[in-house]
Symmetry: C2
Subunit: 319 residues, 2 copies
């Protein structure tokens, strides 16, 4: 039993008015001779053990505890004990064009060039481009990075690891602009992502989850006739939703998403994955059509990502 860990657990339990029992105490058991790594996010501490010429790390299993001990103890130790050259990294996050399009724009230019490595990681509505090289090749690395910026300019939303909602949040804040959302197929996901950013209450007023058509009419002022003529998944309705929520909430921007997330509800004319996204501001309202592939979750994720990116591009255009 590692006494400081036992006390940390006891303290954690006391703070949330829970009773510590024998099962909980067991979490403080560690291997003899191990260096104990405090777990700021949970019960069982991490451990570092030296065996012959190797160093073993034991980490707690729950993901957020794993990450906490990794960030607070393992990575700092690795940095302090690293030998050999440290690679330089350039990171780009891209929305709006796919991995294969990125490659076909860059490779004919001799990208990434001698002494520089590149890796691509494609996720829903997002591609991460990672360039890395030994510090000695920093000049070539910067050349490759410049090529990325030149060839896929407006589609890069961050040269780091920020979520798109954080990028959009910073732009809104810098411009002292406010936002309200009107969500149909995303069902609240856009609002969830925006409010995932600390301080989002400075620019985010809220929104309407307009899942049923009657809500689109009543709370967003969407025309019953247009709903009948164009259907809820249409450019006309997306625009009226964005304008309606902007008007109702009195915000600088209104952002709206309407689409068919599936698996049911699609037709030949309006297939699953068809999504309209609109951004309204004082200058007017622009809607775009997208076609996403995959599961219901994928389509919702993708819709929220493209919606945020559409707002980002609108913000960069100037308000």
């Amino acid at each position: 039993m590692h006494e400081p860990s036992r006390l940390a657990i006891a303290d954690r339990y006391a703070k949330t008015n829970r009773k510590m029992n024998a099962f909980v105490e067991r979490h403080a058991l560690v291997i003899e001779g191990a260096e104990v790594l405090a777990n700021s996010a949970g019960l069982a501490p991490g451990e570092r053990i030296s065996v012959n010429n190797s160093v073993l790390f034991l980490l707690p299993g729950p993901p957020r505890e794993f990450v906490a001990v990794l960030d607070e103890h393992v990575l700092p130790w690795l940095r302090a004990n690293r030998t050999g050259p440290v690679p330089e990294i350039r990171l780009f996050q891209v929305c709006g064009i796919g991995e294969s399009d990125i490659v076909s724009r860059l490779e004919p230019e001799g990208f990434p060039g001698p002494g520089v490595d590149v890796s691509y990681c494609a996720a829903i509505g997002r591609v991460e481009i990672r360039l890395f090289a030994p510090a000695a090749n920093a000049a070539q690395l910067d050349k490759a990075a410049r090529l990325v910026r030149e060839k896929i300019a407006g589609s890069i939303y961050d040269e780091g690891s920020r979520d798109l909602a954080e990028v959009v949040g910073q732009l809104l804040r810098e411009r002292k602009a406010t936002l309200a959302v009107a969500e149909s197929c995303t069902g609240g996901l856009v609002g969830h992502r925006i409010t995932g950013v600390a301080g989002s209450s400075y620019y985010f007023k809220g929104g309407v989850i307009a899942y049923a058509d009657e809500v689109k009419e009543r709370d967003l002022g969407v025309s019953a006739e247009d709903l009948k003529n164009h259907g809820a998944v249409s450019e006309a309705i997306a625009k009226q939703m964005a304008e309606g929520v902007r008007r109702r909430f009195g915000t600088t921007f209104g952002l709206a998403v309407t689409g068919i997330a599936g698996p049911g509800g699609g037709s030949n004319e309006k297939p699953v994955g068809l999504v309209y996204i609109a951004v309204a501001d004082a200058k007017g309202c622009v809607a775009k059509q997208s076609r996403f592939a995959g599961s219901r979750d994928n389509i919702k994720d993708w819709g929220s990502q493209v919606a945020l990116d559409q707002l980002r591009l609108r913000l960069l255009d100037g308000i």
Copy 2:
């Protein structure tokens, strides 16, 4: 180049009006002698290779493609080629009590008993209990499962792997009930989870993301005086939000969440992680206070989980 894979990729590109290039074609390259496993979710197929007495599977890296090839090819192959006894499994998903409380209720009863193994997996607002035993010990396994049901009765929301939103959705559908949500600190996450379930439009009308206090007043009819006296994070406001959204949307149930997701905005009296959740129906309105620990994301996740569970328990009470 594996020709059927190349054709599948070409077909995928044609369907979404994209041009296939040399980089894309490369995804159809496979190892000589490999059995090719079609990838229904992306470009590069999986592969199965027999080497000496071993079988190797190569899977695509993107998570949804990995899962697709795993589900469609790897698991069926493993099932078909398995030798030896197949373990029986009993699965329980629990919300409302923690892992250590579960253990301290079960272990004094001799749980899980001879010949039965148990594993616990704790996530945000959820603990999974997995019992497993050789088929020969099915009687002991059932005995252990009965003990789980007896000791933690109402906190089990599924004996399978369904998300809580799906469980709640089924209950709403069975009762022909409808739902609207009013979300402050969760910012749309509850709506997002509910609409993650196919067919949720049968019972979910929508909701209000009432992030700013003015929205709580205007769209949910929350009292300005109560906001001033009790603060937005209070039992009184949670109740008025649930009642307000139910009234506005004309639904069987109104579900509301208000809290402090942090990292800022906390005080001694109202610390980060304090969340009030209220359920309103024709019989009245009940609010509960919770205290969650962890990051902003954790608190939002936890709030959405407990909100859905509070609605589940209300649904089981009868309407």
